[in-house]
Symmetry: C2
Subunit: 188 residues, 2 copies
DNA sequence: CCCAAGATAAACAGATCGGTATACATTAAG
DNA sequence: CTTAATGTATACCGATCTGTTTATCTTGGG
């Protein structure tokens, strides 16, 4: 058993390629070339390209939320500070040179049907992020943690779109200023 | 010259197909079949599929903004009411059964490179919508019309994402409640 | 050493991709 | 009527798509 399994190699490269070039536009031949595995190996691990897309989205969700939680808790020393720190974390993300929007928004764009498994996973990712925010809002003593979380989540989504479509790297700062208003309203 | 030109037929069908199934996933063969034209005719009017995509996005921008402006001005009898009516217009859009998110967010997802012509058109569309909002904010007497417009625009983007990815049809209502806070702050 | 598991490269299949070419039909203007 | 433009259908091109097959190589455990 190698340190990095073939399966992980494949998912790792698929992550980069799907994110940068899109799901439909990225062929399996490109993925196996970059991952340096044979086509047989890919189809040993995944029944189809669709299955690989799902596995890739699940991995992305894991990596993204782990990073979001780690960085948010590192930058914010109180629940209130953490709610604001969320915007600093996504702001840093916008400035990464590989930033290509939110992979789950992108997936929903390509797999528009709400019943599509990739679309469902994308919705689930958004739900989990929102749930994480709700937990912090609750700790912060918000009058209505669920509502505050949904407000903050909506501001983050808007900032992501502005950053990606319009290239507005300061979108997170505006969203943060807006969030502050709702946080102040919700905390006493 | 027919009442509806061949070119318009092609763009009209391309609009539906690109919007529902995505740009890369929709082949020109599918478009010509639906538009009931020959492939030669398509390539007489458009040099390439890429050119057709651009023409389709330009048409979508025209239709979308015309509808947004018409409905906003119909539903709101004052600049302040119009700023709020924006959210009613997009709320109705979310509830259309053909709703598949924002075509320009979708385009940016598939054509992630900021230099891609389709991406550039998408950014331009967002800029024009924001400019329209700024005009209303200005009429309303906002202290900083540009900032208010960008705030409202960000809320709209967030609502679109929530509506499409998570299927949250009431996203526009939350965004509207949030917008009210900033409108009240900006109009002394 | 031996063997099975899992890897490899490469050919192949059948469909579809964007785009071109050919040959014929329709149509409207001079 | 004639002609030029524009339409049609269809065949074709080479490339690429997802997925399968074949035949060979590597490797670790008993």
């Amino acid at each position: 058993m190698p340190a990095i399994s073939k399966r992980e190699q494949i998912v790792s490269e698929a992550l980069k390629l799907f994110y940068q070039f899109g799901f439909t536009a990225t062929g399996v031949d490109k993925i196996i070339t970059e991952a340096k595995v044979s086509k047989k190996t890919l189809y040993n691990h995944f029944k189809s390209k669709d299955e690989l897309v799902l596995a890739t989205l699940r991995k992305r969700d894991e990596l993204f939320r782990n990073n979001l939680m780690r960085e948010t808790e590192r930058l914010g020393d109180s629940p209130r500070a953490q709610l604001l720190a969320l915007f600093d974390v996504v702001g840093d993300w916008f400035n990464e040179k590989t930033f290509s929007g939110c992979m789950f928004i992108n997936a929903a764009a390509e797999f528009s049907d709400a019943d599509n498994p990739s679309h469902i996973i994308s919705a689930e990712h958004k739900r989990l992020v929102c749930e994480y925010i709700r937990g912090i809002a609750s700790e912060a003593g918000a009058s209505n943690p669920d509502e505050l979380a949904k407000q903050i989540n909506l501001l983050i989504e808007g900032a992501i779109v502005d950053a990606h479509v319009c290239g507005n790297k300061s979108a997170a700062e505006r969203a943060k200023r807006m969030a502050k208003v709702f946080i102040d309203l919700a905390l006493d």
